[in-house]
Symmetry: C2
Subunit: 186 residues, 2 copies
């Protein structure tokens, strides 16, 4: 099975999650292809459009993963446009936008979409948390400013194994793995 | 010919521009259909994908218009995602992001894409200017914070006729009109 993404960090986290999750290992190969994204306020719609495109290119079992940071006091910004916002404003921009806000709640969402033909199957993971007051100089993407619930460290301060215990991506991968074993490996 | 957009403000500006621009009037009807947008850093790509979709739905001569505000010190943010950013952060968000920036230069870009079949033809208009220090409580979209070059008023403080003399949209519409008369009305 192929995981299509240009993001090495995502692949490393997903590979670790799949290898640790129960007795049956899924063999996943990383395929670095840039897929066209649609504009939609729904991560699920974006992921479905992407995996269909990925299947057309790869022609066999394939999955993609999309994630986004949804900040409550910013009406869900940056949401599905997280990677564009990270590239233009960076973590500094998010900190600036929250300077006068008392509510710093946010949700990191992950959607995995799997396809082996016409249909796509999706799995959604969420981690609630807070945006930190300062940027911690470690981790990728918004990890240096996102502190998951029930912890006092941001994602960026955790090593891969610790992040993989509590991340939005973990939740989506675990559901996907369970479903795949039950439906595709018997 | 149809102009496909859910935005009444755009239609009003374009209708005025087309009716004033030379002796030959183009008859345009407003069709309010929500079109799916692709994610791309290029306004032109977004507009082309949109007009192809619009032609499939309408089946006759059709055009769309996409615009975006590109702020230099924010690496082109909000750019092609201007309408999402307006809906989530609003003008307040842009003002917050520029609080510590000395460079307030920005460019408003407009792309018109026309189609009557498989191909699409595009026309690009640009207006350079500055982001104001405060929000002027008039106008739609980012008009309350964008001051075009060689003026001391923001778009929002101008009436439709004054804005239509200097806007990015004017420039795109004039090119489109000229091309259409020369190529399609003879």
């Amino acid at each position: 099975m192929y995981f299509v993404s240009t993001n090495d960090n995502k692949y490393n986290e997903i590979k670790d999650l799949l290898s640790k999750n129960g007795p049956i290992t899924m063999h996943v190969e990383h395929k670095k292809i840039e897929l066209r994204e649609i504009q939609s306020n729904s991560l699920v719609e974006v992921a479905i459009a992407k995996v269909k495109q990925a299947f057309e290119l790869v022609g066999q079992e394939v999955f993609v993963e999309d994630d986004g940071l949804f900040i409550d006091s910013l009406n869900g910004f940056p949401g599905v446009y997280s990677s564009f916002v990270y590239d233009t404003l960076g973590n500094n921009g998010i900190i600036d936008l929250l300077k006068n806000k008392t509510n710093r709640s946010a949700t990191f969402k992950s959607v995995i979409a799997f396809s082996e033909g016409k249909l796509a199957k999706t799995f959604i993971g969420e981690t609630k948390g807070l945006i930190s007051n300062n940027i911690h100089d470690r981790g990728w993407g918004f990890d240096p400013i996102f502190i998951p619930e029930n912890t006092n460290k941001c994602f960026g301060e955790m090593d891969l194994k610790s992040k993989n215990k509590v991340s939005h991506r973990r939740s989506a991968v675990v559901q996907f793995h369970r479903w795949y074993i039950q439906n595709k490996m018997i």
